[in-house]
Symmetry: D2
Subunit: 353 residues, 4 copies
Amino acid sequence: MIVVMKKGANAEQIGHMVERVEELGLRAHVIEGTERTVIAAIGEKRDEYRHSLESGPGVAEVVPILAPYKVASIEVKPERTVVTVGPFSAGNCHLGVIAGPCSVENEEQTVSTARAVKAAGATALRGGAFKPRTSPYSFQGLKEDGLKILATARDETGLPVVTEVLAAADVPLVARYADVLQIGARNMQNYRLLEEAGASGKPVLLKRGPCATMEELLLAAEYVLNAGNQNVMLCERGIRTFENHVRFTLPLATVPYLHERTHLPVIVDPSHGTGHTRLVPRMAAAAIAAGADGLILEVHPNPEKALSDGYQSLDFRQFNETMSLCRKVADAVGKEMARPVSMNPRDPLPALV
Amino acid sequence: MIVVMKKGANAEQIGHMVERVEELGLRAHVIEGTERTVIAAIGEKRDEYRHSLESGPGVAEVVPILAPYKVASIEVKPERTVVTVGPFSAGNCHLGVIAGPCSVENEEQTVSTARAVKAAGATALRGGAFKPRTSPYSFQGLKEDGLKILATARDETGLPVVTEVLAAADVPLVARYADVLQIGARNMQNYRLLEEAGASGKPVLLKRGPCATMEELLLAAEYVLNAGNQNVMLCERGIRTFENHVRFTLPLATVPYLHERTHLPVIVDPSHGTGHTRLVPRMAAAAIAAGADGLILEVHPNPEKALSDGYQSLDFRQFNETMSLCRKVADAVGKEMARPVSMNPRDPLPALV
Amino acid sequence: MIVVMKKGANAEQIGHMVERVEELGLRAHVIEGTERTVIAAIGEKRDEYRHSLESGPGVAEVVPILAPYKVASIEVKPERTVVTVGPFSAGNCHLGVIAGPCSVENEEQTVSTARAVKAAGATALRGGAFKPRTSPYSFQGLKEDGLKILATARDETGLPVVTEVLAAADVPLVARYADVLQIGARNMQNYRLLEEAGASGKPVLLKRGPCATMEELLLAAEYVLNAGNQNVMLCERGIRTFENHVRFTLPLATVPYLHERTHLPVIVDPSHGTGHTRLVPRMAAAAIAAGADGLILEVHPNPEKALSDGYQSLDFRQFNETMSLCRKVADAVGKEMARPVSMNPRDPLPALV
Amino acid sequence: MIVVMKKGANAEQIGHMVERVEELGLRAHVIEGTERTVIAAIGEKRDEYRHSLESGPGVAEVVPILAPYKVASIEVKPERTVVTVGPFSAGNCHLGVIAGPCSVENEEQTVSTARAVKAAGATALRGGAFKPRTSPYSFQGLKEDGLKILATARDETGLPVVTEVLAAADVPLVARYADVLQIGARNMQNYRLLEEAGASGKPVLLKRGPCATMEELLLAAEYVLNAGNQNVMLCERGIRTFENHVRFTLPLATVPYLHERTHLPVIVDPSHGTGHTRLVPRMAAAAIAAGADGLILEVHPNPEKALSDGYQSLDFRQFNETMSLCRKVADAVGKEMARPVSMNPRDPLPALV
């Protein structure tokens, strides 16, 4: 990292900072500019000590040079990670499509949705059994009963189940039913939960918090990876900005940016990422053109009567049309969207690759 | 609009607000809820009086119902506007591509770029002669000499010229050389300039300010349209958010959102919209998948030596590859990207349709 | 709430929405405007069904009228809540000052800081034992050993202890040592944690998430209040914006805004709210002028060597000066900053009022 | 500046960048770290070439070291600038208060407001004659008639007039009537206007654009200063963020931050900075505690009937109370708020100091 001294910093202050850098086990290299002195701190350590240098005497600012994440970095593992669970595959040329209701409401709703999204080309089923709700007065999910319904829908269709886990203590229960654990945006920095999800061995879908930077997202992934779990998918689901015509702003440059920095697959959620059904199909197509490795979409038999998020859910016809548009764009950019696999739906899921 | 009274607002306050509404020439309709009273204000007037009601006694808030823009609205003109200038066409199924250097630096640089972008499929040439620069110490553009060079490039290639105009007083000069007047993001609410540009009769490319709402953008367009000029293109060029890995956040949901509200074509600028060359090709493709009616891209023979914006410019090879990716996506979503027209470049431009 | 129909919505669509509103147990009141029809939905229910109506046929938007929080609302409890723990008091005319190190590093550091801040007028001690860290490679806190050190510092000084709890499962442990449980910004929507903290019976300091709206903050408080715990303090600690000269933007209008809506006290954190030591004193004073009921400040014997957040910590001299500036402003606006209480520090804390 | 090479950048790329740095007239100093090489570029030039280096081969990023503004910098002029016009003084220990209606509506409204604000302690009169309005259908101001009314109000009260100028072409007209030219937030980067205002010789009140960074604001001031005009006041008037309970977010840390960087006085506008009358008094007081050199406030005889911005205007009683609160806080922090000067109001204004 680079320690930039204030204009007029004196020799004593510079000497002090050189000492501080060396105390941290780094090599100090002083460069005197025409107006200011800077000290380059050289060594293997990451920039974790950056902040402690900032309050030194005569210091104007400290500029990091190395990224703070390691295991997630493409510099460490240049081959792209492909996450595969049964018919679902995301990463490299594989485009995975996760679709289903926001909340599991009952078996009929969930199973019919699973059948419909499978028929249209989805390769995984989403559905919320534990729901994080802004208001304590809103529907909080069916909990374990919801997980059982999801398992039934998997048995009926062969689609692996992606569902959210809200608390570290729930990981064992949810992992018993789910094929992929989703960490929601509100929990992106719930580190205890990240560690437990990592330890579960199940693939993890990690959603970006609505005001998280790329560095924070990658460091959150690092918590899961460090627990020995390599099957992490990052998910862009929209950020909070001043825009008031959408619920969230969906910044698709996230996709090519992350592809330059990390080997992990990047999924896009155009349902939460816009908050309006009518904007979803085009943003799903745009995500694929941007290079996304997968989509996660809210689908409901009758959005108008959904217990949550109806305003951003597609009905079956809309989902079909969206898949058809997406398939054309995927072909154009060289991504494979799995055609529905012919499998006996009651067979166990293939082992995780 | 709806005037929402505070809980506990008394009869006198409600009576006063009914009077105020009627003074404004609107009809007042009082609805008593279980907790609050609201007053619906009914009439032909737009919501321009909304704010004046907000400071009334006992008023909690005033909620607008009608959009404040008129001429730009798709409710007023359901057929989509197509802006056509020579080989360039944007709107409906037509995808226009405007490409060229950030700044006009000299004739060689500009003409060679114009030839290169035309060969790769661009249908208009961009280039800055008057440059708005954050710092007074930065290169400010060649001004009229730059305009002359742009005209030369047009003569050589047949590509119409899109260039920025910075001040109302410059409109006549710039309009003498340019085919399309660009209003930059910093000037989106420079109303005097909007009116002058509108009065010039030239098509206008209106860039969204980096913290403008959709309503503000459409009202800025309304200033141009009201001056009798129907050839307005809206341009999304990125917004300012907390994201620090891009220069601006490019919110592509702007495209389908505007297509629902207005008949005007929507152009996307992935160069400014990301601020990093490496993110441009994918975001250009994503913009088309989102339904964009055109792209505006920065291209330079040698970005490393560009006098401005080199960090977000494509070189000729990169532009070729971007066009090739874009053409595939355009085909996938049913947009026509004009193949280079075979025309005698010294012929005058066809009249404006 | 108000259901706004699209221009041109037909009688069938309007009839359908009237039925939907009535199905939800509300009364529907149709108002035909000159351009659009709106349906007022009247009844005791809060607007939780708002979103389900948004996807109805012909609906343009749904506008809420009632705030979704209840117990936190000043409409429900007009007298201001005062949270008192030993010498600390926040609310109404009482200004509480919580000060101490970001992380508990060792007994010497913590006890010396406790003595210093008490001498300067602080009425509670802060210190992190469980640290939420963006990077898994950063110092994660001393955990239970840290809690023991905090308890020692309380025994030495009589200052009650405010410390963060990171996970629902840790609440019993942390509550054994702490006087006030702090819910950090990253956990503002960790609902399981909010419920557990509520159930603990300890006063709760709830920090605003860096992109949380006022409504989301108040609904998070509602989770704690609903667990039967009335001693909740809200804390503004800065939001994430495009500003790049501060770590967070500190929006002090939060204070008078919340004072209009809720009876709960509002604490301000100028350390996290700016992220730079040099900006802290003025923003602490400004918070008091804005009406804050308390401050929480990072203080360290030697910020340059702090294991975390040194760049925003005050040293003892700076804290003294800040308190002296704050005391003058508190006097000016009629807030009482407790003068250090003379108490036998080894006495048990007075019971919670 | 520091050129950071990518991991694995080769000798040729490093050599190339060293050459590029030297071509720019700077000295290159190569530092080989354990993982990356960085090149320090040393010399007198500011970082204006930073961006052109970013697109070099093998370059990861370029980090600026020197601030790009010069004349505004406190490093260049350590004594604080005090702007004085008649009874108004802002800077150092002087707190100036500018108050008046958003729009000049008629003589009676303007003169009565001028008298009222003077009586309560304002030292300058604000009022808009040329109004920038988001919608072309809103009231656009009385233009020259409005300027004449302002001049009358000055004659009656002795208060200098602060009024907005919208276009470079209007500067001579507005400067004929006004004592201070206000550049509005929408025009902060209207460089032609900045230059003209600078050349007029009149003091300039430069408002921060709602998404401008500190660096952009200071560089905008630099345009005015470079035109030979040293009487520039910077004005914080709120920024655009995700917050939806205020019209703009008022970030008061702007004040101490700017006081560290520049000698120019900093004025705060709590009317636009909140957008709600009820939040204005407390935010005015907070601004003073933060160290502001002045306030600009909207005051109207009857806000409910104001032609613009009534929702954020104070009436005379509210203004009195606000001044009284502010005076106490000013005393607490050592700022002098001028007591109304006893002057013959028909005397000419004292010459500019």
